[in-house]
Symmetry: C2
Subunit: 335 residues, 2 copies
């Protein structure tokens, strides 16, 4: 199967929405990693005094969204939509966070691509004239996700070397029509691609084709090359998926070069025993809303392409022997 | 707890998107019901020759979306987005349908409110200038949903009298910028409300507050009264929830009158042993894309308010003793 050009898949915003504020909350393992100092808040343990991992995740998302709101100092009455998503069945963390936030709520599901997807949809709502400000937030939780998709972590099942480690974290951004901050200048909504990967421990391989397809179409739509970006960060292919995406794009005539990395590769270091890197929709949300955004604001990065990557499986589909389709959504952020 | 006015929750479209075509696929029980003749296609049995209920649901959604496309005769290259959602974990039916449709895909989750939500978001994308045509589709499947949320139907568990029957059905609409058809003139995105209902067999009670809140805010935003609509259809409160919503609105000073009904009340008749009526996001999608749309086109209804209603629970949240928050999203359709 080859990647193919669709055309007309990228929206360029006439009045690019601004990122007015951001806030990130992570678990202790993420706090101990190389990006630890870039996060707004680190929970002392995975359960944060709550009665379940799932409730802890929802509280984490709520704290991230409230944190972004507080940082911007914009009253709730001027926030027109809340967009959120997570990995849990029926987006339960997002629904419970939305109950507390009391804002008009649109639930999005793109698996680990949800941060880029919500930034894209939020930008369309603002640039389209339907919102002054949109609050976006995305979360995942290691224990809650692992027991839902694979095995309870208490079971101590041995992890494959190509497996990724689901990040415990929630990131939130406040997008707005006016103010100051980096701008979201364009977005590419991806298609679902399936290269027949059926190993639930190899998400990187399942997502690499869709991410590559979205990057290829994005570059062709805008007549750009990878070197037009200071950073292209997928989120989250891990080390295995990142290498595969590089190879797939090379076959299609695109040399990604040094500036191509992955949020799942950045968030942990090799001493943390995470094998192929981080994953979970919290991963790209906290790496983008933390480290990458700070580097844009500091003038270190001028133009960034964030490509969210989602593996579209459920525990039911895996037990029924289905393969794992993937999706990639891209957004361009400029200083 | 009282309903309260937020303000500024409704978008009025400057160039109202058109409903260019529609297609519905349902199971045999829905085909035998009072609206049987209004559906495009009726499956002979619940599994449609597939290996699982879940695969049958995905095929049903795919057939509905392809059906809407074929009816409009618009080439795939001119469809800029596919928006879809369902009740299954990780939107698996929609993801697998999107894999076949090969269109830029945005996954939405609003439980049973997903049809109205996708019509609202699709309309914003078109009116905002980001799409020429948007294909929306929403599905549910009785056996797939019941075994995920409650009990496998093979178990024969006795159903409560306030329980609703999850509809097996998929409805699809092609929304467009130009052509002919009824128009979507405004949309109200709802907030998550929780009145502390925790009975998974009483979805109507869980959703009634959020639906009432959305109707109240919609009417106040547009300075309208219920009598300005030929039909206000919630989807899907069932008989219990419909009565509760009428009471809640009355307490807030709004008399809904004769024109207030519910897609879950319309789809089955009392001989079909469904207790409080139909539910599942397939319900409002096939009742709207079938019967209601046909009555608008026939000139019988001039202005309709469709209020999708979602119960935001998961099997995990129920086992953990959480209550069930609800959400309501409204769209106005005019001849």
């Amino acid at each position: 199967m080859d990647l193919k050009r669709r055309g007309n898949q990228t929206m360029v915003f006439a009045n690019p929405p601004l990122i007015l504020s951001s806030y990130t909350v992570v678990g202790p393992k993420e706090g101990d990693g190389p990006l630890g100092k870039t996060f707004s808040k680190v929970f002392k343990d995975q359960i944060h005094g709550e009665k379940s991992w799932e409730v802890a995740e929802s509280i984490m998302l709520q704290e991230a969204m409230q944190g972004a709101l507080d940082q911007a100092g914009i009253p709730k009455e001027e926030i027109d939509f809340m967009l959120a998503g997570d990995l849990l069945n029926q987006l339960i963390s997002s629904n419970f966070a939305a109950r507390q936030m009391d804002l008009p709520f649109i639930g999005l599901y793109g698996a680990c691509s949800t941060m880029a997807l919500s930034m894209a949809v939020g930008s369309m709502l603002i640039d389209g004239g339907f919102a002054r400000n949109v609050l976006v937030g995305v979360s995942s939780h290691h224990e809650a996700a692992e027991r839902q998709f694979r095995f309870p972590t208490e079971q101590g099942t041995q992890r494959a070397m190509c497996a990724q480690w689901t990040v415990t974290g929630a990131g939130s951004l406040l997008l707005g029509k006016s103010g100051t901050g980096p701008r979201i200048t364009s977005a590419t909504i991806g298609r679902v691609l399936d290269f027949d990967v059926n190993d639930v421990n190899n998400m990187g391989a399942a997502m690499a084709p869709a991410v590559s397809d979205t990057i290829l179409n994005h570059l062709q739509d805008l007549q750009r090359k990878p070197q037009d970006y200071d950073l292209i960060a997928s989120g989250d292919l891990g080390m295995v998926g990142l290498a595969l995406a590089g190879d797939l794009l090379k076959k299609s005539g695109v040399e990604m070069g040094e500036g191509f990395t992955d949020c799942g590769v950045l968030i942990y270091d090799s001493s943390q025993d995470v094998h192929s890197g981080g994953s979970g929709c919290g991963c790209s949300s906290v790496v983008f809303a933390g480290n990458i955004l700070q580097r844009i604001k500091a003038g270190e990065l001028n133009r960034v392409l964030l490509v969210g990557s989602g593996a579209l499986h459920s525990s039911t589909s895996m037990l029924q022997g289905e393969s794992i389709p993937g999706i990639g959504h891209a957004v361009v952020i400029e200083a």
